[in-house]
């Protein structure tokens, strides 16, 4: 449990900032200053240590009371014909309040990382998948295949915690684990084993990945391939990889959907997932979709259980209406389909709302700066620092309890949105 041992020092603090939700951080709090003493990395350091600047809500650039800001938001939403609740970077109760408000105000909900998230969701809804979770990886993986992703840039401690841990529960020799990158090269050495064994890299351009993955799947299925080269990769190398996958007892095929930045990447994710299913006819293999930083998984989960549908659902007609294309709010904003945007971004000061002509309300992390001042800005607390909360990890199974580490007085997203809903 997250707890304060010495004055101001918190043990076992979970991070909601990246999808693997490491919960072994030791954090020191002095007043409003937070610093990670142990087990920090680039992502969590920024996440926890970003200082508080603004504490006052603003309407049209002028400081106002929280009540005035809430009333102003309620007025904007009441008169809106097409409100959007976007961003949705928040915790469990923030998501609950956003869904309640969307339902009442007939808004559309979407998450700032939906572009990436839907590369997975569309596959889940079309053909499904076989996937695993982080503790299984930590104890069982013998071959880790990484598709088109540079994991350590976004999940700096993934290898330390899930691959190069000291011991497996099942007598596996950790050093014998194999790591193969297909597509992108790793940006650093996190994937190198403790004794210095480097990951194997079969590099290709992102644009070639769909073809490369299709060939790999065909080889796993035992189909003959005429070509000798696909992308920049020799088919013979892919044949070796296919054989490795078939021989492995518990291979894990990981990808970070956010790194698959090419058109219709969901089709490639689907090919990967179908290949994993086919491997399971004889041996065990699992997919591992990595994502879900800053509340991305949490809000999709809450949306699914409260409405039946994930993000990109609108309530215009009084009931949930899911459409991953029409309710893509980036597209809606670009097309001027939105008159009022509520942008929730409580984790990361850099995640500001997209430029648009909509009247914009930001519930943002303190310290956020804007190219164009929004009509309303309320600096809100960050879950797991300024208020308690809960957040899901990338696997959508494990969730972590977030603690209040300091008394900044910043309201939570839940507080603000619930107050708005009550005014409607």
């Amino acid at each position: 449990m997250t707890e304060m041992t010495d004055a101001g020092v918190w043990q076992e603090v979970p991070s909601p900032f990246c999808g693997i939700a490491s919960d072994d951080l030791i954090i020191k709090v002095e007043g409003n200053n937070v610093s990670i003493i142990e087990n920090g990395d680039a992502v969590t350091k920024k996440g926890f240590e970003t200082p508080i600047t603004d504490t006052s809500p603003r309407v049209n650039g002028k400081d106002v009371s929280l009540d005035e800001a809430v009333t102003h938001i309620a007025d904007l939403i009441r008169t809106s014909k097409q409100p959007v609740i976007g961003g949705m970077a928040t915790d469990l109760n923030g998501a609950r309040s956003a869904m309640a408000l969307a339902d009442k105000s007939r808004a559309t909900v979407d998450n700032m990382d939906s572009e990436a998230g839907f590369r997975n969701t569309l596959v889940l809804q079309d053909t499904g998948w076989m996937v695993t979770t982080l503790t299984e990886v930590r104890n069982r993986v013998d071959l880790l295949l990484i598709i088109g992703s540079d994991l350590e840039s976004e999940y700096p401690r993934f290898f330390e915690r899930m691959v190069w841990n000291e011991e497996s529960m099942f007598d596996q020799e950790i050093e014998s684990r194999q790591v193969v990158y297909l597509g992108k090269r790793p940006s650093g050495d996190a994937s190198t084993s403790p004794k210095g064994k480097k990951a194997q890299v079969l590099a290709c351009e992102d644009a070639d990945l769909p073809e490369v993955i299709s060939v790999l799947r065909a080889l796993v299925k035992g189909k003959g391939i005429q070509a000798e080269q696909v992308g920049d990769i020799a088919v013979s190398d892919l044949a070796v990889l296919a054989e490795q996958l078939k021989q492995a007892k518990y291979s894990v095929v990981a990808w970070a959907a956010g790194h698959l930045e090419f058109s219709h990447a969901e089709a490639t994710v689907q090919t990967v997932c179908e290949m994993v299913k086919e491997l399971n006819l004889d041996t065990r293999s699992s997919g591992l979709p990595l994502g879900g930083k800053e509340g991305g998984i949490t809000v999709n989960q809450v949306s699914a259980w409260q409405s039946g549908f994930p993000m990109r659902t609108n309530f215009n007609r009084g009931y949930p209406d899911y459409d991953p294309y029409l309710s893509d709010t980036a597209r809606m904003l670009e097309n001027d389909e939105v008159d009022t945007l509520v942008w929730i971004s409580s984790f990361n000061v850099d995640r500001t709302p997209p430029q648009s002509n909509a009247k914009t309300i930001v519930l943002g992390r303190s310290g956020m700066t804007f190219a164009q001042e929004p009509e309303v800005f309320i600096p809100v607390g960050t879950p797991g620092i300024d208020h308690a909360g809960r957040a899901f990890r990338t696997d959508g199974v494990v969730s972590v309890p977030l603690r209040k580490l300091r008394d900044s007085g910043l309201p939570s997203t839940f507080d603000v949105l619930t107050a708005v809903e009550q005014e409607l």
């Binding site: 939700a21 919960d23 989960q301 259980w305 949930p320 809960r390």
Partner: protein
Amino acid sequence: MLTKLTGGRIYDPANSINNEVKDIYIRDGKIVSAPSDGQFDKEIDVRGKVIMAGAIDMHTHIGGGKVNIARTMLPEDHAADVVARTELMRSGCGHAAPSTLTAGYRYAEMGYTAGFEPAILPINARQAHMEMGDTPIIDKGGYVMLGSDDFLLRMMASNGDQEAINNYVAWTMTHSHAIGVKVVNPGGINAFKFNQRKLDLDEKNKFYGITPRDILMRLATAVKELGVPHPLHVHGCNLGVAGNLEMTIDTMEGINGLPMHMTHIQFHSYGTEGDFKFSSGSAQIAEVINKHKNITADVGQILFGQTVTASGDNMRQHAAHPFASPNKWVCMDIECDAGCGVLPFKYKDQSYVNALQWMIGLETFLMVDDPWRVFLTTDHPNGAPFTSYPHLIRLLMDKTFRNDILSTLHPEAQKASHLASLDREYTLYEIAIMTRAGAAKLVGLADRGSLSVGAGADITVYTDNEDREKMFTKPDYVFKDGTMVVKDGEIVEVTWGTTHVVKPEYDNSIEKSLKPYFDKYHTQKMGNFKISDDEIVDDGRGSITVQPLHAGGKI
């Protein structure tokens, strides 16, 4: 405020009251005795109406990871049953995998006031409670799943003593806020991770050398010794496999008299006779249940149409994946703790197997003599959505209706079943046992399922109707903790139920082995695994009700 329900016909098996006209008084959420001065504040005339306690669904998948995967996977199923917002109610969706909000409303509309999620993975318990926390009106709770978790299997492999296992079971129940313990395909979910594709009752896990029989015995003993009222809740080996009948019988007989609940037993009652090599084993199963008073069962009735199957049994779900309809499915290995599998499925009345499954379920209901030991479930949503309960009740209460449907089903299946010759029709009193008094006793709810003075005022009032489906679809009134939440089948007030748990005692020294286990092998700290009471109470909408234990102690 004192409310009087005047002149109803009471069916209250907990007090052996069978169709007697009595008044009921409600104050502060409880049933109270008649006031000595005869004064009351409000009277509701229920003369001629049928009155029962609120119904309790003792096995329904309403919250947790696999249910939410099912929801996310099935936008096309929801689209046919989206539910608009009203003044009182949030929008949502219904059918196979309803939204939490709609599930709560619909349960209440049918006169149900409690539902128990039977498969809470310890590591996913936080999510299960979040979802149940967003399920309005009804009370809830759940059974925590053990038996494929590596911590237990490691203890067993190293011959850990029973007391240590009891401590672990109680610790897990406490920190996941459970009211019972479930085992799913005992050890099979774990064995699947080692690429074993089936696991018979006496077959060893490749790594641990432990058999399902060992696991059942250890867990059933733990539950009994800890004094947990709900017997070990067992989803047996080889679900859905033709010929699993014998193993199911062996499972029941082999537990040596320990209390054990066999869940969705319909899926475990299959023989291999006939041209289709698939036959009904319900007669043998019912005979064993009738003989062994330590055994209870719920049926897991299937009904025809589209649904989705969501199970912890990823070994069996993986084997069944060719039958997914529409063709999409999910299997997961989960956290050295458990697993899950989700497959949409369409039961067809012109399929021999599906038709016979329908008959096997009904045969089981009709051939188990004691309604206190058999329970009305569809294993929602695996056999059918819970909204089909009124239809199922009519099938049990109306032989003509049952046989009319039977006569339309796959002709070879009709020949393979003797359902048409079973004359039994359930009475209202027996329905009240199965869905109220018996269910409360089985789950371990001391203050629910009865109309006793002092019980929580969860009350359902029906208009008697020969068409039992109509009668049970739309009660006149439903009271939840004394508040009228339904009138004429419509929600009139939205309340929030409690979460029922038990708190068995244990020696906290179990944490001396659990903490290093979490540190070394897990990706979450032991302390963060534990769910605090605050998380369930949340912003004040939720609450925890601790139910009493039985006398435990060494067997």
